[in-house]
Amino acid sequence: MPIQLNKALIGRELQPFVVTIERGKIKEFARAIGDANPLYLDDRAGQASEWGDIVAPPTFMTTFRDAAGDNTDFLRELGTDISRLLHGEQEFELHRPLRPGDTLLCRSRIVDIYEKTGRSGPMGFVVRETVATDKTGEIAGAMRHITVVRL
């Protein structure tokens, strides 16, 4: 009998959290990918650019996490644990480049939970959307994350 995911979590809004983008974190992230673009790594190249500073790589929002949050509790409530998770899909919408010092309010919501049977057996899917707004209330970016749970 495969595990049942807790569908009562559909629609759940997670605790909002604030992130401030750190210069060093942008560089560490670009280096970890092995991307040596000077607009990520070189402050002078950033200053000389039309953006006035270095910018974050397009997938940088994946680093946005609630430092106070504990994912373990959420996974337990969902009915699974970290060893069963795979990343299914990911999407980013970037309304403007993200730069050091940007402070963003992130709001995440579980938009769907469903099950399907694929080649490798029954799988659960958890769809989470996060919207990041800046101090003026403008949306800076958004992301949609589909976690696959091996049931």
Partner: protein
């Protein structure tokens, strides 16, 4: 030339992006990516944990492969050009795998002086199997300014 400026007028449907070859994937890169991204799932670090979870060995974060695909796009269009990037992780990337990222222009549109280019993007391993498939939208400058 790497990082040269590309303009909307220079792009045609069917154009291919210069391929970007990454890897072979080493454990140290997965460890660095864990630290940089904050994704410390031990399935990417700890062989015993991965085995107990039913995998053959540790494997790369999907987001690392997405970072490679994003680099393929930004090497071509510029780091601030990406408006949308969406992928499906089609297969696991393992240690020692080489990942080649590719892209192709699907369409172009212009509205209110914003020139958007739609791309099909993907990455394949050394056996030619697709590990990431997706789409991206980039905004490119015009030669008319």
């Amino acid at each position: 030339m790497k990082y040269s400026r590309i303009y909307a007028e220079d792009v045609k449907v069917g154009d291919e992006l210069p391929p970007l070859v990454k890897g072979p994937i080493q454990q140290i890169q997965l460890t660095r990516y864990a630290g940089a991204s904050g994704d410390f799932n031990p399935i990417h670090q700890d062989h015993e944990f991965a085995k107990a979870a039913g995998m053959d060995d540790v494997f790369a974060h999907g987001m690392l492969s997405m970072g490679f695909v994003a680099q393929c796009v930004t090497d071509w269009a510029g780091p601030a050009a990406v408006r949308k990037l969406g992928v499906r992780f089609a297969a696991i990337v393992r240690l020692k795998d080489t990942v080649t990222c590719r892209g192709r222009v699907l369409g172009k549109s212009s509205k209110d002086d914003v020139h958007l280019v739609e791309l099909e993007i993907w990455a394949e391993n050394q056996r030619g199997e697709k590990v990431v498939t997706g789409k991206a939208t980039v905004a490119l400058p015009s030669r008319d300014g």
